[in-house]
Amino acid sequence: MFQHSIKKQERITGYLLILPWFLGFIFFYSGPMIFSFIVSFCNWDYFKNLSFIGLDNYFKIFDPAGHAMPAMRRTLKFVFLEVPLQLFISLMVAMLLTRKIPFTRISRTLIYLPSVMSGAVGGLIWRYMFNTQTGLLNYLLSFVGVKPIPWIENPDIALYSIVLTGIWAIGQPMILFIAAIQGVPSTYYEVAEVDGAGKLSQFLNITLPMITPAILINIIIILIQQFQMLAPIIVITSGGPAKSTYLFSYLEYENAFKFLKMGYASALSWFMFIIILTLTLIIMKSSSKWVFYQSEKGKML
């Protein structure tokens, strides 16, 4: 009886302790999201009356003459460039920083630095460095004989310039990779050494399989981050030139906060959410085929 009442008391205390999060979840996440789902079937210019228009907002997204499909294609191109690049470079840097060479600790700190800069302020600095005539980048490239590149003035180049700015902020994935690499037991390498395995073979057969959990987490985090990449676009190009950097997130931002087309913007955000969710689930589903866990405990939950 006494035991029972303690258990009951613990249950109540438990619910009370997590109550703040639960209320926040209702008021700031699920509640508004359900509301926006309803609004996505309406025409609502925010200040004017709202009217139900069925699936029209979604038809508008798939309208081949509209802005949404080209914007989504650009976003997919951007994401599929940025994710592998960030993954590859952060892994290479992490490998470098876990070798037995001097100054790796301070280097880790310095390489992380651009990641604590805000996307907006960092974007301004990049915009200044991208200047075709007087910018730092073209000046540095002139030493190796490269002619001035119109980084953000040429529609064929601008998107790649934005991709480039993202590569600087790889602190987070780098740290996860360093922790994962350091977590590989050194005995594995010693055994491989005795067997005469070269460095490349050690990397491919020991390091890479052992850090697949970190690769999985990094892919998902970078993917979600890059789909919603917005601040650098606002600050550097505003979607230009000739709409070459007009990404889906920017389209959403303009419709919601410049044109106040809340119905259409809600539909856009749900469309984006479903694409991100689908891709994330596909990656997670595939992970059982390529992610290697040392123990059950290693899993995220």
């Binding site: 613990e10 249950r11 205390t13 438990g14 009370l16 302790l17 997590i18 703040p20 209320l23 926040g24 700031f28 996440y29 509640g31 508004p32 999201m33 509301f35 926006s36 840097v93 470098l96 070798r99 060479i101 790796t104 280097s107 310095l110 992380y112 630095l113 651009p114 604590v116 800069m117 805000s118 907006a120 302020v121 960092g122 301004l124 600095i125 200044y128 200047n131 007087t134 730092l136 000046y139 600087w168 922790a179 994962a180 697949t212 987490i217 998902i220 979600i224 789909f227 919603q228 601040a231 606002i234 959403e252 919601a256 906060f257 809600s266 955000s269 749900w270 984006m272 959410f273 991100i276």
Partner: protein, 280 residues
């Protein structure tokens, strides 16, 4: 044989070391450039070729920035938001995490899965519904949209705290129960003092996040007296006027604080990631 091997290994390490230097220099270019251009004076801004190493030192850009723009107001506004968020969200997230890691109640695991999943909800997806909600409440041009949601705990921080708490032996709680402490008393008297590492981690994260936040202020704040630091700097650039000297000077200030905090407290930032169990 042995000697030959150590020579080749020395050579290999030297090559790696050179690659390391090049990598570090490459990553530091934007950080270096903002500080150099900030103290280089206004004339040097569009000089070509630019001086890679500044030939003169001048604080004119800073004077320009402070005189012509509301930097001080932005600075104070940012500090207010950062301070309230750092204290509030850290405390609430820790309490919620305590509930998730120490109490047994039906639905606990499924609710925690929801916490984890909501880390992954993109900003784009929740910002539009939140904007409709907050502007209906009349919260635009106040700091409430930037503060209130944080006061209910932040999913990622709850996760960080929970991963730390489950590693603390439960016997400590039991000792408290036997002494007749209430559960919340156990949290404040026994667990909280042990939670210093994740508290520091979360505070550093929240400092950097709140300080750098640009999109939420951009959407909710349109009165000049409410601008945050990043927003003030962003509005320094208009189609008619680009005072890049002042922009670089003020940007260097905006970058300086997170950089300093990061330098001093980096062990908590890096340590936090390893104990949060993301190591795999």
């Amino acid at each position: 044989m042995n000697n030959k091997r150590s020579i080749s290994s020395l050579f290999g390490r030297t090559v790696l070391f050179l690659i390391l230097i090049i990598t570090v220099v490459t990553f530091l270019i934007p950080v270096y450039w903002v500080f150099i251009k900030a103290v280089n004076g206004p004339i040097a801004l569009f000089k070509y070729p630019p001086d890679l190493f500044p030939k003169r030192f001048s604080l004119d850009n800073f004077r320009e920035g402070f005189e012509h723009y509301n930097i001080i107001v932005g600075f104070i506004n940012t500090l207010k938001i950062v301070f309230i968020n750092m204290v509030g969200t850290t405390l609430v997230s820790a309490i919620v995490a305590y509930g998730f890691s120490r109490m047994v109640f039906p639905g606990r695991n499924i609710l925690f899965v929801i916490v984890i999943s909501s880390i992954l909800i993109p900003w784009d997806v929740k910002v539009i519904p939140q904007f409709m909600e907050f502007s209906h409440l009349g919260w635009t041009n106040t700091f409430l949209p930037l503060i209130v949601p944080m006061m209910f705990g932040f999913p990622f921080y709850i996760f960080v705290f929970r991963q730390f708490i489950i590693q603390i032996p439960y016997e400590l709680d039991e000792a408290g129960i036997i002494d007749g402490s209430s559960r919340i008393g156990i949290f404040f008297r026994i667990l909280l003092p042990l939670l210093k590492p994740p508290i520091m981690t979360v505070m550093v994260y929240e400092f950097v996040r709140s300080w750098n936040d640009f999109l939420d202020p951009l959407i909710y704040l349109s009165k000049m007296s409410t601008y945050t630091l990043t927003l003030t700097i962003y509005y320094m650039i208009t189609p008619f006027q680009m005072n890049w000297g002042a922009v670089m000077a003020m940007s260097s200030l905006a970058v300086l604080f997170p950089v300093l905090v990061f330098f001093v407290l980096q062990k908590f930032l890096f340590g936090g990631l390893s104990f949060s169990g993301l190591k795999g």
